[in-house]
């Protein structure tokens, strides 16, 4: 955020997920609300609701009649919606169009299709680690592994998957910043993500390959090619939803390991724990809070939700609900029962979840292989993002020479 947000008077009646205090204290705020006011409200953003119990979050996620996906990022204004697909199908689509748009994506992102990307992801992580080792060899003792490692992995993989230049990573991050952090200024078309994508899609149509843009250019709905806005919106979705999120999960996993010698030892000495550890990272540090626009008035938990209000879906808060998880407030590296909802619940389950899991797994494996023991340079220097994607944005790690 570039502007200064008014202080939050009371989280139950005036919450603000974009306030710096939220970034610094989100888990404590979730716990406090869950005990005292399990569906909070704010007049900010034109009216928004904030549930913190797993049950309520699941109920809203699965009620696609009262809770529309045509707005998924909370803004002051209500989105001007191109029906039926929304800006970024399928995440912004409601039934029945949703399942058509989603079906196209599911084939590309199925677990078996995504397995083929493992060598690309591993090569990316190894390249970044080699760069970090070169810096250490050159005498650097403190390196920010958010900006030198976790951030680059999803950018590089997404660029490869879309067939776009890896060096456009900074361009992608600019688009993400504009859209997710609500700078409030609409850039001119020539500087917008739409322009960038329109240009690349037009070029690709004349030169098809085996990348995801080419796949979408050749996809059809009942024999009709996808509309240009559909192709563009879906690619935009992958850039917006596939980068910050995974960056955050990897960063949070590393942040955790940097502070827990016990969990580092367990990871390294008992590889059978790793699949459970990765899911526990996703539960405990779930990055994504989704949102819905209320389509029809409904009462939930005694709260009168009105059409046009927002409802936030803080999946990380659901993941720490003691009604849903034993020892919910503890990171349990070998947690065997873990129905976490890091990737959402219901028909909008994250379409890229298999790719995200692959990236988090390889990023952790390669890092822990290279640096089985590592520590934060200064825990107070770690900063967390505000808004609907939560993760460490600066993560300085000490490499004593």
């Amino acid at each position: 955020m570039t502007d200064v947000r008014p202080p939050v008077a009371d989280w139950a009646t005036d919450f603000d997920h974009q306030h710096p205090d939220y970034a610094a204290n989100a888990p404590e705020i979730w716990d406090e609300l869950r005990d005292g006011c399990p569906i909070a409200h704010t007049d900010r953003y034109g009216g928004a609701w904030f549930p913190t119990r797993h049950e309520d979050i699941a109920t809203i996620s699965k009620d696609v009649v009262h809770f529309s996906s045509q707005g998924v990022v909370v803004t002051e204004e209500r989105p001007d919606i191109p029906a039926p697909m929304g800006y970024a199908p399928p995440i912004t689509s409601d039934p029945p169009f949703h399942s058509i748009a989603r079906g196209i994506m599911l084939k590309f992102f199925s677990p078996k299709a995504i397995d083929a990307w493992e060598p690309t992801v591993r090569e990316t992580c190894r390249r970044l680690i080699a760069d970090i080792k070169a810096k250490i060899d050159a005498g650097e003792t403190t390196i920010d592994i958010a900006s030198n490692y976790s951030q680059h992995i999803p950018v590089s993989v997404m660029a490869d998957m879309l067939g776009l230049p890896r060096q456009d990573g900074d361009v992608f991050r600019g688009f993400i910043h504009n859209i997710m952090e609500q700078t409030g200024e609409e850039p001119p078309y020539e500087e917008s993500m739409d322009f960038y994508l329109d240009t690349h899609v037009a070029k690709r149509r004349n030169n098809l390959g085996d990348d995801l843009i080419s796949y979408l250019c050749q996809a059809d709905i009942e024999g009709m090619p996808l509309l240009d806005e559909h192709v563009r919106g879906t690619i935009g979705l992958l850039i917006i939803a596939g980068i910050d999120t995974t960056w955050s999960a990897i960063g949070a996993g590393l942040w955790h390991m940097a502070q827990s010698p016990k969990d580092r030892d367990r990871w390294t000495n008992d590889p059978s724990v790793q699949p459970f550890a990765l899911e526990e990272i996703l539960r405990f540090y779930a990055p994504v809070t989704m949102a819905r626009l209320i389509a029809e008035d409904i009462e939930l938990g005694g709260c009168p939700m009105k059409a046009g209000d927002w409802a936030l879906l803080p999946f990380p808060a659901a993941n720490r609900d003691p009604e849903a998880f034993e020892r919910a407030d503890e990171f349990v590296i070998d947690r065997a029962r873990n129905r976490h909802s890091a990737f959402g619940l219901g028909i909008h389950r994250c379409v890229g979840s298999n790719l995200a899991r692959l990236e988090v797994r390889i990023a952790m494996e390669e890092w822990m292989d290279a640096f089985p023991n590592f520590e934060l340079a200064d825990p107070d220097a770690v900063t967390w993002s505000t808004g609907q994607v939560r993760g460490p944005r600066q993560l300085p790690v000490l490499f004593p020479g």
Partner: protein, 64 residues
Amino acid sequence: MKIKYDRSACQGHNRCYMLAPELFDTDDEGYAILLVDGDIPSELEEKARLAADNCPEFAIEIEE
């Protein structure tokens, strides 16, 4: 032990396929396919429980 799998509740999280590939496959869209009809071999009972206990959508139930 038997597994009851509700395809209409499955949203393709793939937790079952990851934890118990002997019992679950996935289709080309990533939704689960139950591979075992009838009783679960005893050596796979633990994996069946894991698959059920990790399904975010409660789409898998164990019948003992």
